[in-house]
Symmetry: C2
C-alpha cells in the first residue's frame, strides 16, 4: 500500500521535510492552520492510530518526542502548541497513513474542533 505519505517518507514526492530519521519523517502541512503546522509520520505504512499494535508503542512515543523537539526548534515550546491525531471520518482523517499534527504559533480555542 503506497499512499502519498509513504511517498513523502521515501522522498518520492516534493515536500518541505524538516526532520528525518530511520523511524519517522516530519514535514510542513501544505494547508497550514497556524504559523507552525508540521506533520510527523512513521516511515513505514500504518494506516492510522486505530491500526497501531502493541509493538508500535516505542515508535508512537518517538513520534510525540520528535514533535516536542520540533516545537522547541520552531520557538513555540514556551508559548504553547497542540498535538493532534485524527482517526476516521468524524475526525476528518484525510490521508490513510498515521500522522501527528504539531500546531503552534497562535492561541487556540476549545473544544478542538
Amino acid at each position: 500500500m503506497e499512499d502519498i505519505f509513504c511517498q513523502v517518507a521515501a522522498g518520492k514526492v516534493q515536500s518541505d521535510v524538516i526532520y528525518k530519521d530511520d523511524e519517522v519523517t516530519a514535514f510542513r502541512d501544505v494547508r497550514p492552520v497556524a504559523k507552525t503546522h508540521i506533520l510527523i509520520i512513521p516511515n513505514r505504512h500504518i494506516s492510522g492510530i486505530s491500526e497501531a499494535k502493541e509493538p508500535d508503542a516505542p515508535l508512537l512515543g518517538h513520534m510525540l518526542l520528535v514533535a516536542k523537539k520540533l516545537a522547541e526548534q520552531e520557538g513555540v515550546a514556551s508559548s504553547g502548541y497542540r498535538l493532534v491525531i485524527n482517526s476516521g471520518p468524524d475526525a476528518g482523517q484525510a490521508v490513510p497513513h498515521l500522522h501527528l499534527h504539531l500546531i503552534g504559533g497562535r492561541e487556540m480555542g476549545w473544544p478542538p474542533g
Copy 2:
C-alpha cells in the same frame, strides 16, 4: 509535586475512572466536549509533553494505544475520534500533568481550535 491528576491516579479524589494499569489511568473529563471525552494520564508525574524524555517513549506510546483501545470500547473506532495533547498557554493546557484527550461521538471540524 502533587497535582489534581496525581491524586486521580492515586485514587485520592473522586473521578470516573474507566481504565487503570501500572502505567496509566483513564477517566472521563468532567467538562466533556463530546459524547466520548476521556483523559489518559501517566500515573507518575510528568508535567506535560514538553517535559517528557527519551526513556518515556514506551509510556507515551502506551498512552496512545490505551486511547485506541478505549475508542473501541466506546464504540467510536469506526465513526472516528480525535486525540489531543495540549502544551502551554496557547493551547490552553489546564492541568500541569500530561494528559491525552480522546474525543469522539460527533463530527469534528478543522482546524482543531
